[in-house]
C-alpha cells in the first residue's frame, strides 16, 4: 500500500476554494482518495445512525465510518456504542445483518463472543490460552473514540481529540432543529423505507449534488413539464426566486428552495403550533431546504441521505425516509408521495443525478493527460457572495456557494493531516 504522501502544497494545487477551482484528480486519483480516508473520514465527525434506528435496548444497526464497518448498538442501560465490526482474534466480522436486536455478537470462526458494549465475554476452549496470551484481548472490540448525538442524529469520530460535535455542527444546528421540530408530538423517525444507490463516481459528487441549486431548472426540467401535464407537483423555476444558498462553515451548507404557498394540512399546522409555540412552529413549517453536513450526511424535510465512499470511483448512497409521529394521514401520505415522485430508481429526478455523476467521472478521465486543462470550476457568484459577520457566506441559491463550502473544509482537513 502506498504511503499517504500528499503534501500541503499538493493539496493547494488540487483545490483553491478562494477561486472555486478544483483539479479533476480529486475525483480520479486513488492516492487522493487514500489521503481523504485517512485525513477526513478517519478523523472528523461522521453520521452513523439516527436514534430511532436503535431505539430499544439491544437494538443495533451496521454502518460504515469511512471504509471501516461498524455496529452501532444500544446497551441494556440505554447507552450508545460504536463498535468496529471485526473480531480482535482473526479479523472476521462479528455482525452480519443491516439491523436487529442482540445482547451479544459472536464471531463464528472460533466462537468468540462480545457483548453489545464491545467487551469480550467468552472464548471457546480457554484452557488452551495462557493468561498472558489472553491479555492481548483485554480491551475488547475497537470502538469509535468519541460518540455524540444532536437532536437524534448520532455521530462518531475515530479521533480522541478535535472539535466537539457541537462546535463541528456550528451554524448548521438551527437547521437540524427545524428538521427535528417537524413532528407535532416527538422527534422525527427514520422509517418507511430506504433508497439504496451505488454509482460509478467519486463520493464528493454526491456531496456537491445534495444541495446544488444551479442544476434543477435544467437537469430536472422534466419536473415542471410533468406538473403541467399531469397536475402532479414538480419543481418551480429557481433563477427568479430570492432563495439563497449558505456556506455554514465546517464544510456544511444549505440550499433554500424557492418559497411556495404552504401546502400543509390545517390540522398539522395547528398541532405543531400547540407543541412548539408559534415562532418555532412557523420555522419548522416553512423549512424548505437541503442541508449538507460534511462529509457524509444530507438532510431534507422528508429524507436523510448517507454517503459512503467505497473507492475513488465508487460510492454508495442510502437515502432513508423520514416520518413524523402523530401527523394527520394526509400529511403522511403527501410526504411519501413527494419523496417517491422525485427519488428512487424510477423517480423523475434521482436517476438523472446518478447519470450525471457517472458522466462527470467519465469526463474527468481527461485528468490523465497533463497537456489538457485539468480544472473544473465552482466559481459562480463567488465575487458577489456576502460574508456575514458570523462567518456565514451567502449568495443566491443558484450560485455555487454551497459547493465551495465543501472545499474550504476539505482543504483544511487535508492540509492538517499532511506530512511535514
Amino acid at each position: 500500500m502506498a504511503v499517504d504522501e500528499l503534501s500541503a502544497a499538493a493539496v493547494d494545487a488540487l483545490v483553491d476554494p478562494n477561486r472555486g477551482r478544483l483539479h479533476m484528480r480529486i475525483y480520479t486519483d486513488p492516492d487522493v482518495f487514500r489521503a481523504e480516508i485517512r485525513r477526513i473520514f478517519n478523523t472528523t465527525w461522521l453520521f452513523v445512525a439516527h436514534e430511532s434506528q436503535v431505539a430499544h435496548a439491544g437494538d443495533y444497526l451496521t454502518s460504515y465510518m469511512g471504509l471501516v464497518p461498524v455496529v452501532v448498538t444500544r446497551d441494556e442501560d440505554g447507552g450508545l456504542h460504536v463498535l468496529v465490526n471485526r473480531c480482535m482474534h482473526r479479523g472476521a466480522t462479528i455482525c452480519q445483518r443491516e439491523s436487529g436486536n442482540a445482547s451479544f455478537f459472536r464471531c463464528e470462526y472460533h466462537a468468540w463472543t462480545y457483548d453489545n458494549r464491545g467487551r469480550l465475554i467468552g472464548i471457546s476452549r480457554p484452557k488452551g490460552y495462557a493468561q498472558q496470551e489472553l491479555d492481548e484481548f483485554a480491551a475488547g472490540l475497537s470502538t469509535a473514540a468519541r460518540i455524540a448525538s444532536y437532536r437524534g442524529l448520532i455521530f462518531a469520530s475515530f479521533a480522541s481529540d478535535g472539535p466537539s460535535l457541537d462546535a463541528h455542527l456550528g451554524a448548521a444546528k438551527p437547521y437540524i432543529d427545524e428538521w427535528a421540530d417537524q413532528s407535532p408530538t416527538a422527534d422525527v423517525r427514520i422509517e418507511g423505507g430506504v433508497w439504496k444507490h451505488r454509482y460509478k463516481g467519486n463520493w464528493k459528487l454526491q456531496v456537491e449534488g445534495s444541495n446544488e441549486g444551479y442544476h434543477p431548472e435544467f437537469l430536472h426540467r422534466i419536473g415542471g413539464l410533468l406538473r403541467a401535464r399531469t397536475g402532479v407537483s414538480g419543481l418551480r423555476p429557481w433563477a427568479d426566486s430570492t432563495a439563497n444558498g449558505y456556506d455554514l462553515g465546517g464544510g456544511h451548507s444549505v440550499m433554500e428552495f424557492p418559497r411556495s404557498e404552504s401546502t400543509h394540512a390545517p390540522e398539522y399546522i395547528a398541532l405543531l403550533h400547540e407543541r412548539l409555540g408559534s415562532e418555532r412552529a412557523e420555522r419548522a413549517l416553512a423549512a424548505s431546504w437541503r442541508l449538507q453536513l460534511f462529509p457524509n450526511l444530507a438532510l431534507a424535510p422528508t429524507n436523510v441521505r448517507v454517503i459512503r465512499p467505497l473507492a475513488v470511483d465508487l460510492t454508495e448512497v442510502w437515502q432513508y425516509n423520514v416520518t413524523l409521529p402523530d401527523v394527520p394521514q394526509s400529511t403522511a401520505l403527501d410526504r411519501i408521495r413527494s419523496e417517491q415522485l422525485f427519488y428512487g430508481p424510477s423517480g423523475y429526478g434521482s436517476p438523472d443525478d446518478l447519470e450525471i455523476f457517472e458522466r462527470i467521472q467519465e469526463g474527468c478521465l481527461a485528468a490523465t493527460n497533463e497537456q489538457l486543462d485539468p480544472y473544473v470550476w465552482l466559481n459562480r457568484g463567488l465575487r458577489s457572495e456576502v460574508h456575514r459577520a458570523d462567518g456565514v457566506r451567502v449568495a443566491h441559491t443558484t450560485s455555487e456557494v454551497e459547493q465551495r463550502a465543501i472545499y474550504y473544509a476539505w482543504s483544511a482537513l487535508m492540509k492538517s493531516g499532511a506530512p511535514e
Partner: protein, 164 residues
Amino acid sequence: MIERMHAEAFLYREARLLDDGDLGAWSALLTDDAVYWVPNNRADVEPQTHLSIVYNDRRQLEGRLWRITESGINHSQDPASRTVRFVSNVEVEPAAAAGETIVRCTLLIHAYRGGMQRRDGVVEAHAARCEYRLREASGNLKIAFKKVALLEMDGCLPPMTFLL
C-alpha cells in the same frame, strides 16, 4: 376466472409490447382505475406508509409514458435500454370481484444500453415475482393491478426508468 393459457397469452403479448417499446399499445391494456406498483425494500408493505419504487395510477403512468416516448428528456435513458423479458411460472386463481382473475408469474428482464461512449455497459438482469389482477370487460382482458416485486428490492438498484 380466465384459463391459465389465456393468461399466459396475455402476459406474453404484454411482454412483447414492452420489449418493442410500443407503450401506446401497452397503455391500452390498462383499465382506467389501474394501479402499477413496484414495491421498495419489501413486498408486503403498505404503499400509503412505505416508499415504493413506483406506485402509479393511470394519470401518473401517462406522465411516465410521455416522458419515455415523447419528451426527449430522459437522461438516464440516453441511450435507452433495450429489454428482453421472460415470463414463466404462470398461475391463476379467482379474484374477489366477479370478472377478475389473479395471475401470478415470475419475470426475468435483461436490459442493456447499447451505443454508449462509456463502454463498460453490462447486461442488467432483474428477476421479479409479479402479481396481476386482470379484468374482463366487453370481451377484452385488461390490467387492473400489476405488482412487480424485484428480487433485489432491498439492495442497491440501478436507475430503472423503463417499465418493468
